[in-house]
Symmetry: C2
Subunit: 199 residues, 2 copies
């Protein structure tokens, strides 16, 4: 490499690490594979990241976290009708899936399952992302209740937990079945449930 571009190098490493981790998990992710994919050398990698763990943390903090914000948190915070927004966001999360990408499941959930019992740093980061997601839903439901859109009888907090759980579970089932149809079918029940939250 003759022309230097440290930011680009760093981003390339994070992106490649995301792919490798998403395919093989964090522990089985090979730094050498990441280096081969990016044409970055080991010296450069360890210049930007003190360890494999820190590279993994950066993937969560700078890539997965941002993706969650863009696709869920921000749209939910800007929504005026939480029910409609949830339904359309769920639809969008189905539509942007093909039979290939479905096999990799939800990157956040993958990492959560693998790393949360093993490494507290991962667990806290991942948990914070889930929390922001769930809070955005819970806040939306609460606001919907004061606006008269959402039933007063339900618990916004419990409903939010349940919705997040159902989405993650559906993605997980679909991943294992290698089938977008399984995702659709599993989320159909969720969509009907969300309809029942209307006032």
């Amino acid at each position: 490499m003759v022309i230097r571009n440290p930011d680009k190098t760093r981003t390339a490493l994070i992106n490649a690490a995301f792919e490798e981790i998403n395919q093989n998990g964090f522990q089985a992710a090979s730094l050498n594979n990441i280096l081969n994919e990016t044409d970055v050398t080991k010296g450069a990698l360890y210049h930007h990241f003190p360890s494999k763990l820190d590279l993994g943390y950066a993937v969560v903090d700078e890539l997965i976290s941002e993706a969650m914000n863009e696709s869920w948190v921000v749209p939910l915070e800007n929504s005026n009708n939480i029910i409609d927004s949830l339904l359309s966001l769920i639809d969008r999360s189905i539509k942007c899936r093909d039979d290939e990408s479905i096999c990799l499941g939800c990157p956040l959930n993958n990492l959560a399952q693998e790393m949360s019992p093993i490494d507290e740093g991962f667990r806290e980061r991942i948990n914070a992302i889930f929390d922001r997601w769930r809070s955005a839903i819970a806040d939306g439901l609460s606001k919907g209740q004061t606006d008269g859109i959402v039933k007063e009888t339900i618990s916004a907090d419990a409903s939010a937990y349940f919705i997040v759980a159902a989405i993650e579970g559906a993605t997980s089932l679909a991943k294992n079945a290698k089938s977008v149809d399984v995702l659709k079918t599993s989320l159909q029940g969720l969509k009907e449930h969300i309809q029942t939250l209307r006032n």
Copy 2:
């Protein structure tokens, strides 16, 4: 080892492998750790199992699969009221959890997340188990419909997918949050949903 007991040796290996895999995942599971736990030697292990992969398959086929049958499939098949049975089985799955075991999540889901994109042998085995579970629920709901216990308007198949997804998702969230309360709260929504399936 002076007195031989090949069956016991084999079972000990499978049990220890289950623990190790459940803690660290399959790929990161160390055969040496399993051998240390069991006081079995590597020669004995490779006498009983041709490879690490086959040991993993045996854990799924002979341990996880059986546990799923005992705790879900058989009770559901013997049930006369699917709604009541589901609710009590869900309650039982909450009660048998403490803050320690919650951190390891659902062994089946853990393996599914890690191995289904990587190894087709694991994927098929795991998928078959999920299928039996889901089918038992779907069959129960269908039977409930003919018995007049369950609403005619719902799709038994879609509901079964949704229920399994919600349970797995809730377990997954609770694992990441290290909290039985998260499991309870997430499943509360599911229980309310199941109540609405009553005729």
